[in-house]
Symmetry: C2
Subunit: 500 residues, 2 copies
């Protein structure tokens, strides 16, 4: 009875997905609404939710149903088959580790996260080295256990949690290409910018309520559906994976919006458009979710970098900015906005990076985390390897671990293998925007006029509505006509930074 087994699995994963959505709403609430004294109780609520959803995946019945459904998958159509494969992938991740390892990982990660929060200010990596070494060792074991079940290399098994099917040989191909290109390009573009007069600064104060209203206006123009989402405020921008009710946030500063609140809003709107336009017939099923975090980042970066920093978008934005904040006409010309949004500024800190240097931060992290998991880099050597890498790739000095290997929380909690998605997303975004531009000949004119419906429809048809029905590589090839090609990102940067 394969259909019966499949239907019962669909019920189970529907419950699992609903619990994950509940967890997302609680996370949003924690960042946006929760009073400080609620933190301990919230972590208990999260733990109870995590356990309840884990139990659905890990229950022996789930394994039995998977075996039964897989035994006659010929009875399933393509989407059902893809759904079943995603169910299996989620179940493998949930059950690959024995209970002792899960408990040890959870305990060590918690302790390490706490230590990181205490240490990042003082900036001394040595203070958390022992507890971090344990986290690395346990993640090595986890990577090996998962790799055996998934049939891939250990570090790939960690990436697979975020980017299903990720392969290092492919990532190396793309990242090595960029690492070879970037240093020369940064020097060339920096020299080019140094020859120009600096852009006119837009000096605030800019009322935060008006910043928000401007952001909501642009979100609406982009096709964000406010019946199924909200914009709120938090320290760092983020969005939730809850298609029927996508919460996005940004942060505000009084003296700027072009480089702070707006790119945050645009980036998260890109994520939100993906979520809001996932296939409605597959809501709460694994195949109805996004196809991994690289493609998700491609959607946010397409809106933030390909669209927002496009000269045509600056023509759309200029009159809106002038109407919202009169008296800054010199700063808010289309050309000046474009120059403000495309300044190169190499820094040791990822959070400050521009779109040119950003992938180098990611490439460094990817190389180091892979080496830590493979045992080719000792934990004690991480700070010096980090600092050497920053000098080598970005040409700047790291003054202390707080702006070096302690700056990101990822490894000190559970986000091993996540970093590559950020840079993959930037490359995919460039290729997709190029494909959309070819498919939509009037795109520039439409953008300048604030009509984003063609672009949004193209993205929905080729990306959003595909859900997780096919591997990412297939989705990209079908959308753009070729495999992921790093040349598109290079060409994008050359146009943006060299008028090439």
């Amino acid at each position: 009875m394969p259909i019966t087994a499949y239907r019962r699995l669909a019920d189970r994963f529907r419950r699992w997905s609903a619990l994950r959505e509940a967890a997302y709403v609680l996370q949003w609430d924690m960042e946006v609404m929760m009073p400080t004294g609620g933190a301990v109780a919230r972590s208990e609520q999260n733990a109870a939710l995590d356990l309840a959803s884990h139990e659905i995946l890990a229950a022996p019945e789930t394994g039995d149903l998977l075996v039964a459904a897989e035994a006659d998958r010929n009875g399933l159509d393509d989407w059902q088959g893809a759904n079943l494969a995603e169910m299996r992938r989620l179940q493998v991740h949930a059950t690959a580790l024995d209970a002792d390892l899960v408990a040890a990982l959870s305990k060590a990660s918690s302790a390490c996260t706490d230590a990181w929060h205490r240490t990042k200010a003082s900036g001394r990596f040595a203070d958390l080295r022992p507890v971090f070494a344990e986290v690395v060792q346990l993640n090595r074991l986890a990577a090996q256990a998962k790799a055996e079940k998934l049939g891939c290399l250990p570090f790939e098994a960690l990436m697979d949690q975020w980017e299903p099917g990720a392969r290092m040989v492919e990532i190396d191909r793309l990242f090595d290409d960029y690492a070879a290109f970037a240093p020369g390009f940064i020097a060339e573009a920096s020299a080019y910018q140094a020859r120009q007069a600096p852009p006119v600064a837009a000096a605030g104060p800019f009322d935060r309520g008006r910043q928000k209203a401007l952001g909501e206006r642009i979100m609406a123009d982009l096709g964000f559906d406010f019946r199924h989402g909200r914009l709120d405020t938090s320290l760092h921008p983020f969005s939730t994976e809850t298609p029927a009710d996508v919460r996005i946030t940004t942060g505000y500063q009084d003296d700027d919006f072009l480089l702070t609140s707006l790119p945050g809003i645009l980036h998260e709107t890109g994520h939100a458009l993906y979520e809001q336009n996932l296939p409605p017939d597959w809501r709460l099923q694994p195949v109805g979710r996004s196809r991994g975090m690289s493609l998700h980042e491609s959607q946010s970066l397409l809106i933030e970098n390909q669209l927002y920093r496009h000269p045509a978008f600056c023509r759309y934005l200029s009159p809106l900015a002038n109407r919202t904040f009169p008296g800054h006409e010199a700063a808010f010309t289309p050309a000046n906005i474009h120059r403000l949004l495309t300044r190169i500024n190499p820094s040791p800190r990822r959070f400050e990076a521009d779109e040119v240097t950003y992938p180098l931060h990611i490439i460094l992290r990817y190389r180091l985390e892979r080496a830590l998991i493979d045992g080719q880099l000792a934990v004690a050597d991480l700070p010096s390897a980090w600092n050497d890498g920053v000098k080598d790739l970005l040409g700047v000095e790291v003054r202390h671990d707080g702006e070096g290997c302690l700056q990101d929380i990822h490894w000190y909690t559970v986000y091993w293998g996540y970093f590559p998605c950020y840079a993959m997303g930037a490359m995919i975004a460039a290729q997709l925007f190029d494909a959309a531009s070819r498919a939509l000949p009037d795109l520039e004119q439409a953008i300048a006029g604030g009509d984003f419906s063609g672009l949004r429809s193209w993205l929905t048809r080729h990306i959003h509505s595909q859900g997780a029905s096919r591997p990412m590589a297939e989705i990209i090839r079908a959308a753009s006509g070729e495999a992921l090609n790093p040349a598109y990102f290079r060409q994008h940067l050359q146009r943006q930074y060299l008028d090439a």
Copy 2:
């Protein structure tokens, strides 16, 4: 190994409580934050959470552990023993009904709630009578099944879900007393008010932001801990049972705050003070929760009616109101505020009721729901029985079912046996405030000066910190020196409405 079984139960109920808290946060979000398009997804999230927490209570292991722990409860101290008894009560409610009845109830209740939402506007009870008749019949069966397990009468078993150990003989004693007293009192007090000049109306508009700031000032004075809670806006005021992070809400109108936003805030602050001051050592355990909804309502009504409408509180409020909204000095004298807050106005609608007529609305509902469950009232006869009861108890006419038996959602969803708690709470509040006044001789002066710390401490010591460690009757006797006595509520009304 009774301690081992008890400890394992404590772990299970800790998870159960954390999931219930998560559900409360989602409910708050739904009323306060959620965009309209999120409704369907939210109901799926709620259903998944309900099922996950139900499974913890209903698991065979939970039953086995309860038997093992109960077998040697002598090894437990008083609070542990009370905790174990509460665990058993929760488990009985979760397991008393067979799966078919649970499914039928859930389906019929959902259909009936939908039908009510469609019907309440048109106001024709006959339109939902068939589906409501099924709900009544299924609740009869549920009441009988639970009564057998709990050793009580069927309707008492429904009340037990909200008010553990509730007994109809006790409720009849209190309600019959009030039903005999009220009609004569209402006539007397109405005549008394008719002889006075009407109070000076406070005519707005009153800025909503200032209304909120005034409410937050009063909340802070009352001891509400904003590190562990928030005030927000919703259509109807409510509060959450989440002690470390209590969310309360109120609604605002432009033309008034004394009779709308403020009593909502004060009422919910009473609930919040109970939650925020529950015994911290028993967080997330059943014995660490409130001792039932009658006592919970007593805490909200003590703040809303005993305190807020007290002449001494009006002396405290008068200068605050004048500072917040200058230009209304004649309306905001202490005496005029008190007269505004104590107007009698019999109406067929519970939501509009004053504190004198409110218990009569409850008494009517209690008598009718009990008769429906006991089979003494046919569903078809509900509208006429309702209308006769309103005429008899309140002396007013019901013009259509929308302001009659369709006005409250309770029976059309799952809140059978809940109504009595509202009126019980009013009576308990009067008795507790009287006891606090005797224990704190300077209470009136402190209230007039805005110092509520003595009252708050008294309530925390005698009520809040007791959690669910003892039956409500014992808590009331220990706090006030006697069993629940309806005379205190009568005396309170005579003082407030007759200057007696």
